[in-house]
């Protein structure tokens, strides 16, 4: 039996999780033009919110818990913008200042999660026994199917949303040029607040699904952030389709990369890919 189908399936699943982080990251980067290092930890917030609900209130409906997890992640993302990034923007702080401030936010949130839930590895479990499907000799669990479907759905809905609604037009205007958008009468701060909410909520969704698929750890945020950022840069920073392309490329590079060597080297492969792109094609696949 060939291992290729399983490698392809694994690559796609990895791409799905990376895409859920990268889409929000690119959405936020597009509007604010800074590397939000606290973005990955939003996924941990989503996952741990579900964990909290399902362990303290036994019998909580999985769907309701997941929705709450996504909303909490979104709300905290919005809150960070309100309390930290907006005042800094108002002062015209440089990107580096925003980056360092978001590193601070990341450090605090990760530490608080570890204080509440310990640093131990936790798993979310929904249904008692999970269905496993087989395609072309490769197996894929129900959660993993949901990861893929969510990534595709989020991408399609968000793209449509940005294209056809008035709000989407305002988002694109802010991303093009915040100052001009403001002069044209758009409440740019409100729009950026919403962008943080949506982007963080998508990351939160990623975190919930990863919790069901592989489990939760307070430190998961950094690793997810790094993979999400790599996907975002490789695909094209600030571009939503770019996030998807980058996530696919990264997922395949990692999983085919460890075909012959030990799986622990995934991170090194991912950063190798990033550095190759930064050197030879710094704007990514889709230049925006």
């Amino acid at each position: 039996m060939s291992v290729i189908p399983q490698l392809v399936v694994n690559s796609l699943i990895a791409a799905g999780t990376y895409a859920l982080i990268a889409i929000g990251f690119n959405l936020i980067y597009g509007a604010t033009k800074f590397f939000n290092m606290a973005h990955g930890v939003m996924a941990a917030i989503g996952g741990y919110t579900v964990f909290f609900l399902m362990t303290t209130y036994a019998g909580t409906n999985v769907i309701i818990a997941a929705i709450l997890g996504v909303l909490v992640a979104g709300a905290i993302g919005w809150g960070l913008d309100r309390i930290i990034y907006r005042p800094l923007r108002k002062r015209r702080a440089s990107n580096m200042v925003l980056l360092v401030a978001s590193l601070g936010a990341f450090t605090i949130i990760q530490a608080v999660i570890a204080m509440i839930f310990t640093s131990q590895f936790q798993t979310l479990s929904g249904a008692a026994s999970e269905k496993v499907y087989a395609i072309f000799g490769a197996s894929i669990t129900e959660t993993q199917v949901i990861i893929l479907a969510s990534a595709v759905l989020v991408f399609v809905l968000l793209s449509l949303f940005l294209k056809v609604t008035m709000f989407g037009k305002q988002v694109r205007a802010v991303s093009d040029d915040e100052e001009v958008a403001w002069i044209a009468g758009i409440n740019t701060e409100k729009i950026i607040g919403w962008i943080f909410f949506i982007g963080s909520a998508i990351a939160g969704l990623g975190g919930v699904l990863i919790g069901f698929d592989t489990g939760l750890q307070p430190t998961m945020g950094l690793n997810l952030l790094l993979k999400g950022v790599i996907a975002a840069i490789v695909g094209g920073i600030g571009s939503i389709p770019g996030a998807i392309l980058g996530a696919l490329l990264l997922g395949f590079a990692e999983n085919f990369g460890i075909w012959k060597i030990s799986g622990e080297w995934k991170d090194a492969i991912a950063f190798g890919l990033l550095i190759l792109f930064l050197i030879f094609r710094p704007k990514g696949i889709i230049k925006s």
């Binding site: 800074f34 590397f35 930290i84 005042p87 800094l88 702080a93 440089s94 990107n95 580096m96 200042v97 925003l98 980056l99 360092v100 401030a101 590193l103 601070g104 936010a105 990341f106 450090t107 605090i108 949130i109 990760q110 530490a111 608080v112 570890a114 204080m115 310990t118 640093s119 950094l222 790094l226 950022v229 790599i230 840069i233 030990s262 622990e264 080297w265 991170d267 090194a268 950063f271 190798g272 990033l274 550095i275 930064l278 050197i279 710094p282």
Partner: protein
């Protein structure tokens, strides 16, 4: 008293790291998030040469510094293609790659278990086995690092670094090969960080990868931002404050794991507050 000596040794080690990173971040304006990697290279080189080959500590230290310098030269060649936030991100990438080598190259580094039983330094038959003599040794190295840093920043070379920080293009127009300057300071910084790593390995007598993570790099960034960028005095002040500050948490009586996370949270909060209210730090001469 023993406890105070212990803290003073830690402060010395972090002061050297702060001086080293301030040369790169404060004076040259390159936000490197890879400091812990060079710190780790120095520590691992020393530990392996001492435990594996039974070398003398001071020779192992020099070898570690040279090794860190060579690796910094190679990494610096890639990093010099970037500036601003991309530089931060790419250096973070190298930080993660080096960490994953510490963690996964089991044959060399013993993986997550680390290297125990590192002997204390020994010079012409005098062993620095008690902490007081080790403190004196550390202070000597802090003074050396300070003298080297002061010489560098006050020389004409140091003035070019500051010019690069303010405007690299303009500096190039004046005929300076800025690449060489950026590489040189990056290598000097890495060698000083490796020196601190050697001291750490020789003092604690046990190392594992968890000291050399991205969080470790963020801690050193917090030291120099708190103390003040482009201020050597600031690096020392930052190291004193950030090593002592979390010790107060210990006296409040939190359990160890909570106290460790609390420390992280405090560093994060400090970074945010500094970015919001005093981006130049306590005595800094440059802000991001």
């Amino acid at each position: 008293m023993a406890y105070l000596i212990h803290l003073a040794i830690l402060i010395s080690i972090y002061a050297i790291l702060g001086l080293s990173l301030n040369l790169v971040v404060g004076y040259t304006g390159l936000l490197s998030v890879a400091e812990a990697a060079f710190y780790g290279i120095g520590a691992y080189a020393t530990a392996l040469l001492l435990v594996g080959l039974g070398w003398n500590f001071f020779i192992a230290m020099i070898v570690g510094m040279v090794l860190a310098g060579v690796i910094a030269l190679l990494i610096g060649l890639v990093l010099s293609k970037f500036d601003g936030d991309y530089y931060a991100l790419a250096s973070l990438g190298f930080g993660v790659i080096v960490y994953s080598i510490f963690l996964n190259w089991q044959g060399l580094t013993n993986g997550p278990l680390g290297i125990p039983g590192i002997p204390r330094p020994n010079l012409f038959g005098f062993a620095f086995s008690d902490n007081f003599s080790f403190l004196l040794l550390s202070v000597v190295f802090v003074l050396l690092a300070y003298a080297v840093s002061q010489f560098v920043v006050n020389s004409s070379f140091g003035r070019v670094l500051k010019a690069i920080r303010e405007d690299e293009k303009a500096t190039q127009v004046f005929g300076y090969k800025t690449l060489n300057y950026k590489l040189t300071i990056f290598v000097i910084g890495a060698m000083l960080a490796a020196l601190a790593g050697s001291l750490y390995a020789g003092y604690i007598t046990y190392i594992d990868p968890s000291t050399f993570t991205v969080t470790g790099s963020i801690f050193i960034i917090a030291i120099i931002i708190l103390g003040g960028l482009a201020s050597l005095r600031g690096s020392l002040i930052g190291a004193v404050l950030l090593v002592l500050l979390p010790e107060f948490l210990r006296f409040v009586g939190f359990p160890d794991e909570i106290a460790a996370q609390m420390r992280q949270a405090v560093y994060g909060l400090l970074l945010i507050l500094l970015m919001l209210y005093r981006p130049q730090g306590l005595v800094g001469e440059y802000k991001l």
